[in-house]
Amino acid sequence: MSDESNSVPAEAPERFAIGISFGNSSSSIARISPEGKAEVIANEEGDRQIPSVLSYIEGEEYHGTQAKAQLIRNPKNTVAYFRDYLGKNYKSIDATPCHQSAHPVQVDSTVAFSIRDTASEDVNTVTVSEITTRHLRRLKQSAADFIGKEVNAAVITVPTDFHDAQREALIAAAKEAGIEVLQLIHEPVAAVMAYDARPEATVADKLVVVADLGGTRSDVAVIACRGGMYTILATAHDYELGGASLDQIIIDHFAKEFIKKHKVDPRENERGLAKLKLEGEATRKALSLGTNASLSIESLTDGIDFSSTINRTRYELLSSKVFAQFTDLIQQVIKKAELDVLDIDEVIFSGGASHTPKIAHLARNIFPEKTAILAPSTLITALNPSELAARGAAVQASLIQEFDKEDIEQSIHPMVTATPHLRNAIGVQFVSGEDVDFQPLLNAETALPARRTAQYSVPKAGGSVFVRVCEGVREIKVTKPEPKPKAEKASDAEEDDSDFDSDEDEEEEIRETVWKTDKAIAELAVKDVKAGGKVELMVHVNSDLGLQITVREVGGQSAVRGAVESPKPTEN
């Protein structure tokens, strides 16, 4: 302020960027707080998960929770679940999620909604692009109101399967709303970033599964984190699985109870169904925290009030099939990545439905103990699953906010992102007596070029040591348990009922990962290391798979250096 003679007069208004997660069910806005932490911002109503819903009553626009409430009284002029229609051909969309709100209609080849969005009686056809613009405009305004500063740019998260037309449509819709999209980033990667950007986080190589369980769809991804860089190894999607599938269970449960009492099916009445859905969702959310939850609806059908309760055990029993679909999707994506559950270091639960305790508990049982399950019900320090994507977007926004547009474009260009990745780990072989061991230095799926340095001990007495750099592959070793003495087993089978017996029979085999040394690459010697000394190894892998290797005694004068040529192009 006092130094104004130093500052260059700003031409364009200053860029101020936030992170936005834009979901089919809900959206969030986030920023980096003055203390440097990513934080999700509440809108005027105090919501951090802002329903992606717009509703119009006599020309007035309602947004978020207020608009969602209109699904009961004003469904025709309420637009919801529209994100996945953006930039898509009308013929290719699935309109199921919009069954209880404004239906998508075709305009040219794209999607629109016929709604009364002005004070007049006329029904207007509003494109999904325009709806998106209006939604983003409201989000932008909420952020600006909170921060007290104009917001004019954003990093927005998108699913991994968003194709170019969808991305372009989103960027254009944001621009209409006065938002410069600095970058679109993938939802699961944003979730990983939200965790990795915490001050206590360290840069470590890891394989992460992100399970994004949303409202109407669920998306899972396997992501390799190598030296702080992220690569998606596989994704799987279920466009019919999400919180709504669980809502249906609650709806059916209470509807049956109602029918028993009153001999009317509340689901057959549009408004009754809408009420059941809205209140049922609230009941289900309450079951994420408590062991009991109630539901109370005035005039559910034929003017009959309804109120009842459900406990968590009952709910989990009813939902077990759907829960299994979630965990199946997770296992499916690991298979797709040609990995094993034993390879996974972290499972990050993201998206609103990830609050459901049982789903994380089921995942806990699938993965080995060393796998961290990052969900509210399995880890106290877990971040709010509903906030991950927006937080990650805010982190990225803060990183590139000062960059020129051109700089950003060049940095995210395929010329820069398309990168060779190591097929196998590269590390050092250790032989001591009979035992051959392998210690990876660069993990498989490390993006190239890459460079890593490590220090190793030397034998107590010192002397010359041998460094053998090779590739290593991870194998799964299965140890069958000691078979039980036969007699005991037989008597067991006689006494116990068959159910119990089969359990007992399934004596757990032990599965573990072990390293196997594969191809040798180079051998080096460090001569006359002093007792208690250490040896440092640096391996640099070029994009063309050529290697530079250096070893030296820590603190020593000279180093041993050598290069390994890149492999000859293969014959085929």
Partner: protein, 447 residues
């Protein structure tokens, strides 16, 4: 990135007989890579992108980044005192030090009153290094009087003395920022241009920090605070730097006193002029400040709003009263209607009872007629008929509706059985006698 992982694993000893040129032997190559897309997010990716775009290796990039960081800090440091030196200034006569621009001499023109003592000292060191007489001599340049070196010393001495520095700053016109003309301010730069002028003016304030002008979004309190501050401005600005030199020989004491008086007057005059100038400046800014107009409008709108709210409240009360009245009326009407309906109902019930009684009375009379007035064989005499009917009448007058109905029922059951009819009557008569409604023997025929 460059930091080493430390593994607690012991490397094997060098096998017997292993040898290689320079202790290195390539024995194989790395397996073919998988082509994948990196996710373009996070700080480490951005570093990767930088290396790739500028085709730098890790160490090159590290070196360049480090150099840039060093350069940046160096520049930051150097920049402060690296302005070009005006040849005219370099050839100044040190005797005329009072007229020199002390800041320019030290290369601090950009900073002026904002220069910190630290900066002044650093600038001094730098200038001395460059203009030290020894150095000049070594470079074959001669400046017999070391004039510019003396200028540097004078400037430093003055600027490091807070009192003398204030005296100079008070008249440092190069630090003045002219307030914008109406036209300039109207072009949309009102806040920016006026801010600059006030920030410059604020250097004279005894109270620090000085509130800033703000912008179109400033609150009423902020704006009012700003003008309050300036209309009560407490300035340390003095004008003795412009004093005429006072002759300091003792011989000319009158002359001395005269100059001193003149100087005092001049200082006073300048100070008054300066106060007026400042006041005009504030007036001018205030007069054109759109925010003041806005707040006035808002105040008016606020009053209007209060009035409207009051009216709305009155209307609401009236409406409520009317509503209460209508409701009361409605209630009364309903009450009346239920009362009426009740009355009707009782009336109907009464009528029904009456009808039933009539019917039952007919049964009573019919019963005696049916049994020929208790006469067996032949017609009953008129006297007998009268006596029986008289008794029936009397009995009827003494019993209530229920007894009547019960009696009628027994009589109907009795039918043409004279004895049964008589017995029914007799039973009823007995009851009445027991209840004290009839005297024993009053009913002759049913005795």
């Amino acid at each position: 990135m460059a930091s080493a992982q430390v593994f607690n694993i012991t490397l094997p000893a060098l096998p017997e007989g292993w040898s290689a040129d320079k202790d290195f032997k390539a024995v194989g190559s790395v397996s073919a890579a998988t082509q994948r897309n990196l996710e373009p997010v996070g700080p480490h990716f951005l570093a990767h992108a930088r290396r790739k775009r500028h085709q730098r290796t890790f160490s090159e990039d590290e070196r360049i980044q480090a150099q840039q960081n060093v350069k940046k800090t160096e520049e930051d440091e150097d920049d402060e005192i690296s302005e070009p030196e005006d040849p005219m200034m370099l050839s100044r006569d040190a005797k005329d030090w009072k007229a020199q621009d002390h800041y320019a001499v030290l290369g601090l023109s950009k900073y002026r009153w904002r220069a910190t003592p630290e900066q002044i000292k650093r600038a001094h060191r730098k200038k001395v290094l460059r203009h030290h007489p020894d150095k000049k001599a070594a470079m074959g340049q001669t400046d017999e009087n070391d004039n510019f070196f003396k200028c540097i010393q004078k400037a430093t001495e003055l600027l490091l003395d807070p009192v003398r520095r204030r005296q100079f700053d008070s008249v440092d016109e190069a630090a003045d920022v002219e307030p914008p003309t109406k036209k300039e301010a109207a072009k949309g730069n009102f806040y920016k241009l006026w801010s600059k002028a006030f920030v410059a003016e604020g250097r004279f304030s005894k109270k620090q920090p000085v509130p800033t002008l703000g912008n179109e979004d400033s609150t009423k309190e902020e704006v009012e605070g700003f003008y309050d501050f300036w209309y009560n401005f407490d300035s340390w600005r003095t004008f003795e730097y412009l004093d005429e030199d006072v002759p300091d020989d003792n011989e000319n004491r009158d002359q001395k006193r005269h100059v001193e008086k003149k100087n005092a007057n001049a200082r006073r005059k300048r100070k008054t002029e300066d106060n007026t100038r400042l006041r005009h400046m504030i007036d001018e800014c205030l007069a054109n400040d759109e925010r003041i107009k806005k707040f006035r409008q808002q105040a008016r709108a606020g009053k209007d709003k209060k009035r409207l709210e009051k009216e709305a409240e009155a209307k609401r009360l009236a409406e409520e009263k009317e509503k209460a009245r209508v409701e009361e009326e409605q209630r009364k009407k309903e009450a009346e209607e239920t009362a009426k309906a009740d009355r009707e109902k009782t009336k109907k019930a009464k009528e029904a009872a009456k009808n039933a009684a009539k019917k039952n009375k007919r049964v009573l009379k019919g019963a005696v007629k049916e049994v020929n007035y208790f006469v067996e064989g032949g017609d009953a005499s008129a006297g007998q008929v009268d006596a029986v009917l008289g008794d029936v009448e009397l009995l009827m007058s003494k019993i209530d509706h229920e007894e009547l109905a019960a009696l009628a029922e027994s009589l109907t059951a009795a039918g043409k059985d004279g004895a049964a009819v008589k017995a029914a009557y007799a039973a009823q008569a007995k009851q009445l006698v027991e209840a004290g409604k009839l005297k024993e023997g009053e009913l002759k025929t049913f005795a």
